[in-house]
């Protein structure tokens, strides 16, 4: 194949993107739940004038 570099680069990039979309789609939702649980549980009072 004449332009193997660009072909490999593009198809590897596409494959990586597909896999990462699935992983981040699942685990990112869990991260949001954890973040909101942490922020909802914080008792620190806001700074006042």
């Amino acid at each position: 194949m004449e332009h193997w570099f660009w072909t490999t680069l593009i198809f590897l990039t596409l494959a990586w993107y597909l896999i990462v979309t699935v992983i981040v789609g699942i685990k990112g939702g869990q991260d949001i739940r954890d973040m909101l649980t942490k922020l909802g549980g914080e008792k620190e009072t806001p700074k006042k004038d």
């Binding site: 990039t13 979309t21 954890d34 973040m35 806001p46």
Partner: protein, 489 residues
């Protein structure tokens, strides 16, 4: 001419918009302090960080700019993406600058600079960051308006209305929920954007054929389509600027480092960078591929394209079928909303935290601080509308983004490296770097618009100017610091 159907595709877009804005508004109840508003209480974990950083750094303007590179330079147009991906991986892997930055627990770069160089450098840094950032962001709305008008088949006279509607939608949830809303909506936007982008690229490769697209690039552009060093327009000076810009933006671009600063610790920040680095290849290669597909389609049909930047949206309007075009528009809206919301909060955080520092001295209550941050986001939104309508784009969009970004990237990256690793660095050097890094690109932008100097500026070109800015800024930092060092002895 477009395949966009208002009932089917319009419903998909409406569903997406309703879901995103509801989620963005729902999390506003968790915002109680300025820290929650600006850095989400520093509680961002790896996968959310990757989703947010990826969604932020991919907007309609980026997509159109990179598709234009693909249309004009073929596969060589992906070169800046290779530089960015490599820079982000190396910095994430080594922790160069970002590790000490996160460990200082600052909200912005200028806050770090104050510790080493004093209050004046913090303030001046804030000013150039906001100047460069806002000029850079100023063209986003118009590009988004152009794109949507073509793909959805709007009459261009509604362009301003579309721009205003997009901005108001984004500003509502950003003003109310700050970084928390940005993160949650970024996550939804990452998923929608990725599905749409992968589906469209897959469809175009399947429809046109991979080998046929390569053949068209070779026939219409020549050998330069595959070799950036061979291309007359994409030469060594441009590649050098790509490299400087890649490292500088990964180190100092506020929307990028804000994910490191919002990470729960420096190790997570480094992992977010390493994990997101291949996305910067995606950010260039997939839009460039859309541009190459447009070149193949219009080139094969013998259709002349007047404005190269609009080739990609024109292609999508013609070849993407009903249903998928709705997902595509939702995906691009997702990309644009996440970018704009993050940029709004990034620049407002610098204005509040650094430029307004002499006024509030860090003593205002959280309630007052939150109110001011929200007011600032509103003002930035108004500026974007006015600037987006007024500024006439000249040359490549990507080059405009590079030049405006350089206004602060050159000086901030030099000062950051010096602050972290050079003991002799001082405020003289920092001020000299800020002035030098600002004057050269701003001068170029102005002279490019003045009729009497347009020819000379075109002859020098933006790439040499960009490279010279980085080199001269580093020299100014060194000379200024050494001068103070010897004169004060």
């Amino acid at each position: 001419m477009t395949n966009f159907n208002w009932y089917i595709d319009g419903s998909i877009i409406l569903l997406y918009l309703a879901g995103t804005i509801t989620a963005g508004l729902w999390v506003r109840k968790y915002v109680r302090k300025v820290d929650d508003f600006l850095v989400a209480g520093r509680s961002v974990n790896l996968y959310l960080g990757i989703a947010s950083l990826s969604a932020t750094e991919f907007g309609i303007a980026t997509c159109m700019a990179n598709a234009e590179l693909g249309y004009k330079y073929g596969f060589a147009g992906i070169t800046p993406g290779i530089a960015l991906a490599a820079a982000m991986f190396i910095i994430g892997w080594t922790g160069f600058c970002i590790k000490p930055l996160r460990e200082q627990k600052v909200i912005t770069l200028p806050e770090l600079f104050e510790n080493k160089f004093g209050e004046k450098v913090r303030w001046a840094s804030g000013v150039v960051i906001v100047l460069g950032g806002l000029l850079n962001m100023g063209v986003f709305l118009r590009q988004a308006g152009d794109y949507l008008a073509i793909v959805c088949g709007f009459d261009p006279i509604y362009l301003e209305l579309i721009m205003t509607a997009i901005l108001i939608g984004i500003a509502i949830y950003t003003i109310l929920g700050g970084m928390l809303s940005v993160l949650v909506t970024d996550y939804i936007q990452f998923v929608v954007m990725s599905i749409g982008l992968i589906a469209v690229v897959g469809l175009l490769i399947f429809t046109f054929g991979w080998n046929e697209m390569i053949d068209s690039s070779e026939r219409l552009i020549g050998e330069g389509a595959f070799n950036p060093f061979f291309n007359g327009e994409y030469g060594v000076d441009r590649i050098l600027l790509d490299l400087f810009l890649a490292f500088a933006s990964v180190l100092t671009w506020q929307t990028m480092i804000s994910r490191v600063l919002a990470a729960k610790d420096s190790t997570t920040g480094q992992k977010i960078y390493k994990g997101t680095s291949p996305f910067f290849l995606v950010r260039f290669s997939l839009p460039a591929l859309l541009g190459i597909a447009a070149l193949h389609y219009f080139g094969s049909e013998g259709i002349a394209v007047d404005n190269e930047i609009l080739a990609m949206p024109n292609l999508l309007a013609l070849v993407i079928p009903v249903g998928l075009i709705g997902i595509l528009v939702a995906a691009m809206l997702a990309a644009d909303m996440s970018t704009n919301s993050s940029y709004l909060i990034a620049w407002s955080s610098v204005i509040y935290n650094d430029i307004m520092r002499p006024i509030h001295k860090g003593l205002w209550s959280d309630k007052k601080g939150l109110l001011w941050n929200r007011i600032l986001i509103g003002f930035i939104g108004i500026f974007l509308l006015l600037y987006g309508l007024w500024y006439p784009m000249k040359g490549d969009l990507w080059v405009y983004l590079q030049v405006t970004g350089t206004i602060y990237l050159a000086s901030m990256s030099v000062i950051l490296i010096a602050a972290c690793y050079w003991k002799k660095a001082n405020n003289w050097g920092a001020i000299a770097a800020i002035v030098t890094g600002c004057i050269i690109p701003v001068g170029f932008l102005i002279l490019q618009q003045v009729e009497a100097t347009q020819e000379q500026m075109a002859a020098i070109g933006p790439y040499k100017i960009g490279v010279a800015t980085y080199l001269m800024t580093a020299l100014a930092m060194w000379l200024g610091s050494i001068a103070k060092h010897y004169l004060s002895k």
